[in-house]
Amino acid sequence: MNQPHPFPGFSHAIVRWGVLAALVGVIFFAVPLMAKVYELRVLNNLLLYMLLGAGLTIVVGYAGLLDLGFVAFYAIGAYSYAILASAQFDFHLPFLLVLAIGTILAAFTGLLLGYPVMRLRGDYLAIVTLGFGEIIRIIINNWNGLTNGPKGIARIDRPDLLGWQITTPRDLYLFLLVVVILVYTLVFRLERSLLGKAWRAMREDQVALRASGVDTTRLKLLAFALSASIGGAAGVFFAASQRFVSPESFVLHESILIVVIVVIGGVANLIGTVIGAFVVVIVPELLRGYQDYRMLLFGLLLVLGIILRPEGLVPQRYGIGWILKKTGWR
């Protein structure tokens, strides 16, 4: 309290609430009104990858476990919705129910995968998760009776939220925005919780943590399950927005992209995850004008970015907590 506040005016509650209201107004009302539909769809992709990034941040950022097969959980969520709410088997379960099923199924798979491999160190864990992701994709690609194999599942139901049919990209934008705000608040609270602190301690020195009597296996499993559940939920949203799923969407490349999201912005920092999703989703779209040189430039920007800022584009101290503090919320 001794230091002068950097933005003195912000300490007034009215100003703070006013700014927040303006921000909410712009994001919720002005953006969907002003943006072209294409831009809205790009934003929806951004929101989706922000979710995936938040999920992976728990495992990679907080717990410090490199997971290269995150797309498996995304796939499980997506196929849950595709199978349970489409013409495939003529099941048409309600959206929220499938969301719950997909999330729990993904979390359960996370536990299933996590349990036997928790003894593994960093890069061994990386290849095991990578292998797991590939196993899931290959099974999806080959189990024609359930997943329709490489042809994919079309005619997936439009999501229906207790009477609100999500049909246009604008509806989806508003819906995903609410979901992202909820999930980010949740994950941020997790970061600040005792569990989050335990994860950080484990990331720094798991031998010491184990010596002090903490069960690191349980910590790791919790991280896996929580992150998998967010991945699964993102998968449900993806299937509901595309209304078509096929194995092509769940390749290894996708897992790697999500790792890029987590790392390029700054590991274990949710603001960094947002920036990372921006880099991975928006930048390639901005580069479209370069035609053939697009992916080359994308690769170059990634390399330049990480060399210039090896800790990620946003340093860890500038997280959500920093913003809240600076603006006087905390």
Binding site: R41, V42, N142, F244, E248, L287, G289, L301, L304
Partner: protein, 377 residues
């Protein structure tokens, strides 16, 4: 300082792209979306080369009646359904765009239908998955056959003409490869043949030694492969090297000079390929296409070059029949439904069923003979 320079350069790269595309109010845009980067870029490039060739010819000849030019706007979908949907919306938002030739992969075309349907965009695709035209959208047209014609032709030729009884099938577990392989299998069995084994391989594989070794013990009369290049070439090469003499049937992806280059001329000899286009020397329009293609790209046209040209041709020739004031998305859809074009590359008059499927599409069977493709049926 150095960091600042690099950072500024990075930002300049990003912002530079947005101003890169030029606009000319007097031109119609036709969108072309296909994988232009990544492992499948080779197919997307062939496809868009064919389209470009057609529109270059059209514009060089003065454009549409009334002097309107048509600009082909290409976009990379990276064979990724998610990116395909973004491209589709970008096309929809382009007010000068009156039609699209999109996409290459069935798995990208299907999710794009919803988007194009939403902005009444005429969509001409070469994706062969039967589902594409069965989902109840009225704006989509398939400028090619679905998988049935060619796979059934292979089966009936093997049984009825070559009197072969036992077939082994290899397929790459992709929508196209699995689709044709299944149709072939059903037809072959229906005609009284026996299928000794169906082996799934990865679409990225190059080593088929293990599969071929176990296939050798089955001693089949023929092998049918549902896949694309280069796998079609690699499998026949490794089969012949292991001494399997069975006859070798492949779908249309094999109709490319690459088959001889990649398999070796001797190994490819006798390969039976189905293709939707009659021989390039059989009709004046085919001769003209092949000649123009060679002049522009310095090589023989591949499978997808021909399909790309055909798709562009269908849209372009239909536009020619419309008066300038009438040209808009809705009217082009109507015109495509009513279109009846003579002298197409396919050797048939092009018109569409109410679902948008090509009417009366043919399949031709070619035999690789001495580095050339000779029509056999």
């Amino acid at each position: 300082m150095k960091k600042v320079v690099i950072a500024v350069a990075g930002l300049a790269i990003i912002s530079g792209a947005t101003s890169a595309s030029g606009q000319d109010a007097g031109t119609f845009h036709i969108g072309a979306a296909a994988p232009l980067s990544g492992p499948q870029a080779i197919f997307g490039q062939g496809l868009t080369n064919g389209m470009q060739l057609y529109f270059d010819q059209l514009n060089a000849a003065g454009g549409l009646p009334g002097g309107h030019k048509v600009e082909l706007v290409k976009a990379d979908d990276r064979a990724d359904p998610r990116e395909g949907v973004l491209v589709a919306q970008k096309f929809c938002d382009d007010e000068q765009m009156i039609g699209v030739l999109a996409h290459f992969n069935s798995g990208v075309t299907i999710p794009s239908l919803d988007v194009y349907g939403g902005c009444s965009m005429p969509q001409v695709t070469v994706s062969s998955n039967p589902q594409v035209t069965q989902l109840g959208f009225g704006h989509v047209f398939r400028a090619a056959n679905d998988d049935y014609a060619q796979a059934q032709l292979s089966a009936s030729y093997a049984i009825e003409t070559l009197k072969e009884k036992r077939a082994a099938i290899i397929q790459d577990k992709q929508a196209f490869g699995e689709g044709v392989a299944k149709i072939f299998e059903d037809k072959f069995k229906a005609l009284g043949g026996e299928v000794t084994s169906v082996s799934g391989v990865n679409s990225t594989d190059v080593d088929f030694g293990p599969v071929i070794t176990s296939l050798k013990a089955e001693n089949p009369d023929m092998v049918y492969v549902g896949a694309v290049m280069p796998q079609l070439a690699l499998i026949v090469r490794q089969m012949r090297e292991q001494g399997i003499k069975a006859s070798y049937f492949v779908p249309d992806g094999g109709f490319t000079p690459d088959l001889f280059a990649q398999a070796g001329k001797d190994n490819a000899e006798g390969t039976l390929i189905t293709f939707q286009v009659p021989p390039y020397d059989s009709k004046p329009e085919l001769v003209a296409f092949a000649k123009a293609y060679r002049e522009k790209f310095g090589k023989e046209p591949d499978t997808y070059d021909a399909y790309g040209y055909l798709a562009a041709w269908i849209v372009g020739e239909t536009l020619k029949g419309m008066s300038k004031a009438d040209v808009n998305r809705e009217n082009l859809i109507k015109a495509l439904h009513a279109t009846n074009l003579k002298n197409s590359l396919l050797g048939i008059d092009v018109s569409f069923t109410e679902h948008g499927d090509l009417k009366g599409g043919l399949a031709f069977l070619y035999k690789a003979t001495d580095g050339q493709f000779k029509l056999v049926k």
